[in-house]
Structures are given as C-alpha cells and as structure tokens.
C-alpha cells in the first residue's frame, strides 16, 4: 500500500509539470485558436536563460524571476512578430508556423548553448519527509507547490482582475470585445506572454529531473498534449486535472504493468490522446453549450 501511495505521489509530481505546460498550451489555444507546437521549445529556451544567469552567479530565485520576466516579454514579442502577420490564416498554415517556430527555437538554443547536456540546479533541497513509510521528497513537494501557486495566481488574475476579465471576454468574443473599447491585439499579446511564462515554469521544474539540453521538452510536450486533450483543450482547470491524471497514469503503468516498464511509458500519453479523441473528443472539461452556470 505504501508503495502504491509512493507511486501516486511520484505521479502527481510528474503530472504537475505536464499540467503547467498543458496550461500554457490551453491559454494560447483559448485566446487565438492556435495549437502552439513550439510551447515546449519556448520553455526550453527560457530554461537555458535561467541556466545562463545561474552560471553567471545570479542567485537561483532571482534568476528564476528574471527568466519568467524574459519569457513573458519573449512570448509577447513572438505574438507580435510571428503570429500577428498570419492572424486569421487557415488552421493548417498556423500549425506550420508554430512547427517552424519549434525548429527555429530549437536550432537557436543548439547554436547558442550546444547540444551537450548540462546540469541544472534544483531549486529545492535534497532529502525527503517520511510520512508513514511514504517518501515525500522535497523536490516533488516543491514542484507541486510551485505549480499550485501558478494555478492560484492565474485563477486570481482571471477571476478577480479587470484585465483578466477582459482576457476572458476576448477569448469568448473578440469582435464584441473591441466594440467595448478593449484593445484586442494587446490582450492577445498578453495571452502569449502569460503562456510563455507558465511554460517556462514547467521547463525550470523539469530541467533538474532530466538534464538541460535543447531536446529536453520533446517528451514533456507530448504528455502536455495528452493532458490538454484530456482536459478539453480550452479549459485551464481541465489542463491541470489532465496533467495530474496523465502523470499518475504514466507512473502507475510504468511501475505495475510489466510490459510497459520505463521504456514504453511514453506510449501512455499517446494512448490517452487516442482514447479521448475516440470516446470523448471534447475532453473532460471541454466547452459544452453553457459553461460555468
């Protein structure tokens, strides 16, 4: 039993990371209808920036703050420079654009920092709490805590601030929002900035677990897609729940289903994606006729 709970905790820790990247995907999808394949690469790039700052002697948490600010600005810049010119283009064209962005950001990171793997410092102390035979490592607790704080801040932003309300209005009906004096293009840029920031959090959290290298986020992105699909792709709450479920499913399958083991774990998110698309295409929290009564 303790072992099972142990696996559950590990799964939650992994799931929290998927949840944050899935959340970034969902934010952009809601505002622009774009599926941003470059989300993981943007997160990776931001993580490299954090690494560079730490290398230069900046204290970790300060480097993290600076990185999130840079990611936010970078996301807004990408919206202005790359996305705005193709606004309203057919869906396939937009997919190609974000795939192009994926390759570009990946190549840029390789060019700047090389493809050699690097150690990324963990922001959390080593060691673990012992709770009745279950090992709660500080790093897992830390990951869960950080993701919970990010969710909480986003919730406050969307629920209780004027700009958050405007963002939800734009996501719901941009033409109508403009008629009320809301500068929609500014809000869209803000959405990209916010998504880049949230994605960067996932990069910084995953880097100490894996190693930092330009291809680091490839696998995570697939898990995040599975999480977002499971959650309904336009529901932030769905992305979080989806991320946690995918993380737990992956860990349990790896631990208890003999043939899967750690090598075939990556099959779990794909199975989730296919299963959801077959049986419940709108996901668990996808938009029905009326939301949030």
């Amino acid at each position: 039993m303790a072992d099972f709970i142990q696996q559950l905790v590990e799964g939650l820790g992994a799931g929290a990371i998927y949840a944050s990247l899935a959340l970034a995907l969902v934010l952009i999808y809601r505002f622009t209808g774009i599926v941003n394949f470059a989300q993981g690469e943007m997160a990776m790039f931001a993580t490299f920036i954090a690494w560079q700052l730490v290398q230069a002697g900046v204290p970790f948490w300060l480097a993290l703050g600076a990185t999130l600010a840079i990611a936010f600005g970078g996301g807004m810049l990408i919206e202005r420079v790359v996305i705005r010119p193709v606004e309203g283009a057919p869906e396939l064209a937009l997919v190609i654009v974000t795939l192009g962005l994926f390759i570009l950001v990946n190549a840029a990171a390789g060019w700047i920092w090389s493809f050699l793997i690097k150690d990324f410092p963990s922001p959390f102390p080593g060691g673990a709490l012992d709770a009745g035979g279950v090992h709660l490592s500080y790093s897992t607790l830390g990951v869960l805590g950080v993701v919970a704080v990010v969710m909480g801040l986003l919730y406050i932003l969307f629920r209780y601030t004027k700009i958050g309300l405007a963002m939800r209005a734009v996501a719901s009906n941009p033409a109508s929002a403009r008629l009320l004096g809301i500068r929609v293009s500014g809000v869209l840029a803000l959405g990209w900035g916010l998504a880049a920031l949230v994605g960067a959090v996932s990069g910084v959290l995953v880097a100490p677990v894996l190693f930092l290298e330009p291809t680091m986020m490839g696998g995570v992105l697939i898990y995040a897609f599975a999480a977002a699909t499971l959650g309904g792709f336009d529901s932030p709450v769905g992305a979080v729940v989806g991320g946690l479920v995918v993380g737990i499913a992956e860990t349990l399958a790896g631990a208890y289903v003999g043939v899967i083991g750690s090598d075939l774990k990556i099959g779990v998110p794909l199975a989730v994606i296919i299963g959801v698309l077959l049986f419940r295409p709108q996901g668990l929290f996808g938009r029905a006729a009326v939301e949030r009564a």
Binding site: R168, A169, N173, R178, L179, L180, G181, I182, R292
Partner: protein, 241 residues
C-alpha cells in the same frame, strides 16, 4: 438640418471586400434624438452601423461632435463614446451577466460610479439582477438583448447604436424594451440610432427616421410625419394604414 449636427454622415461608401453595399449615404443626427433607420432585408442597415463604428472600411465623412471618427478601429470609436449593440447581441456567453455588464465599463476608471451604474441597469432590467451570477449564454433571447443594451449603457455612451433589438422578441417585450430605450434617451440625454425592420412600432418611438433601400437613403423626415403619411408608409415601409 440643425446648426450643430451631433453625428454627421456625408457621402458614405462602404462594403465588404469587392462588394459595395452603401452608395453615398448622408444624414445628420441631432444630440439627444432617437433616430430610426428603416428598410428591408439587405438594405445595408447593419452595414451602416458597422461603418459608423469602424468595423469595416469606409469612404466619406463621419464626424461625432465635430471630430472625425477613427477608421477601422472600433476600440477607439468606442472610447469616443459610441456604444454599438450589434446584430446578434455579441453576448460573452460563458461569462456571467454581471461580468458582461462590468465589461461595458471597461474603459472607465471611476469604480464607485461603475458600481452605481450596474445598479441602475438592474433597475431598468430587474430580471438581470436576479440572473446576475448566471452565464449570459444561458439567458433567453430577450434577456440577452437586455444584457447587450445594459452593457452598452455601462460605458455612459454619448451615442448608442442599436441593431434590430426586436429580433426574435415577442411584440410586447419589444415595446417594453423600446420604452426603456426612450427612458434612457430622456433621462441620460443619450443619442440613439435605432435600426429596425418593425417600422410601425419604431416610428412611434423615434424622433426622426431615414429609410434605406439597396444602400441609399430614399426617404428622411420626422418620424411622426412619415407615420402620418399613409402613402409614404405604404410605398416605403409596407405599412397598411
């Protein structure tokens, strides 16, 4: 025409892509008046309102209180005090009624006055007070029209553009709605442009009226005169009188 027209429209041309819809429209609206724009389906009434608020490309003169209206920037037109209640209402369906109303005041900074104005909208439309926490998309058509008008009022506009508020409403509800529009117009001195197909009822509430046909103004005059002139009413508006 009055000496200082509040809204001036001169030789207005507009359309969608290559297709022109408005062919040189001109009329003035005086401050504080309810101005009806009537005409059959496809005459260009909705297009006229879209042109006014900058949603589509235009040629010609558009001035509000002597200031040229910005082109192709509805958010800037809105910030000049023009509130557009679009055809189909433009409800933010997943947002609550209260949130829809608060968004109407997005460009305002006076939070206390905004809170008062929300109460005032609830006084005009008591049913919205009951439903304030409900998703606006779950309301009936008439209630959503109230949300749309209430949201427009929240900006304390100088000019309200109403595009067929009667669409899908029972005649009695339409009359009530028009009475509220009249009350707003009288109490707040808000100028109103009311686009409608229901000529008979609209002329009862409007001060002046313009009739559009295939993108041109074919008739302008005091609403009462148009209503009284049976021949005109029959010829242009299909009203048997």
């Amino acid at each position: 025409m009055s000496a200082h027209a509040f809204l001036t429209v001169e030789d207005l041309h507009a359309g969608y892509g290559a297709g022109k819809v408005l062919h040189g429209i001109g009329f003035d609206v005086a401050e504080g008046e309810i101005c009806a724009v009537l005409g059959p389906n496809g005459a260009g009434k909705t297009t006229l309102l879209r042109a006014l608020c900058g949603m589509i490309r235009t040629e010609g003169v558009l001035r509000l209180d002597g200031v040229a209206l910005p082109r192709r920037r509805p958010e800037s037109v809105a910030r000049m005090g023009v509130a557009h209640v679009p055809e189909g209402r433009g409800t933010f369906a997943p947002l609550s009624v209260a949130e829809n109303l608060r968004l109407g005041a997005y460009t305002r900074r006076d939070r206390a006055a905004v809170a008062e104005d929300i109460e005032r909208v609830y006084d005009y439309f008591p049913v919205l007070r009951e439903r304030r926490a409900q998703a606006a998309g779950s309301l009936s058509g008439g209630e959503q029209q109230m949300v749309a008008i209430g949201r427009a009022l929240m900006s304390r506009p100088r000019l309200i553009l109403l595009d067929e508020p009667s669409l899908g409403l029972a005649p009695l509800v339409t009359r009530e709605l028009f009475q509220i529009v009249r009350a707003v117009n009288e109490r707040e001195r808000t100028t109103v442009i009311l686009v409608e197909q229901n000529a008979h009822l609209t002329l009862e509430f409007a001060h002046r009226a313009h009739v559009l046909e295939t993108g041109r103004v074919v008739l302008s005059g005091a609403a009462a005169d148009i209503r009284a002139d049976a021949q005109v009413a029959r010829a242009y508006l299909g009203i048997e009188g």
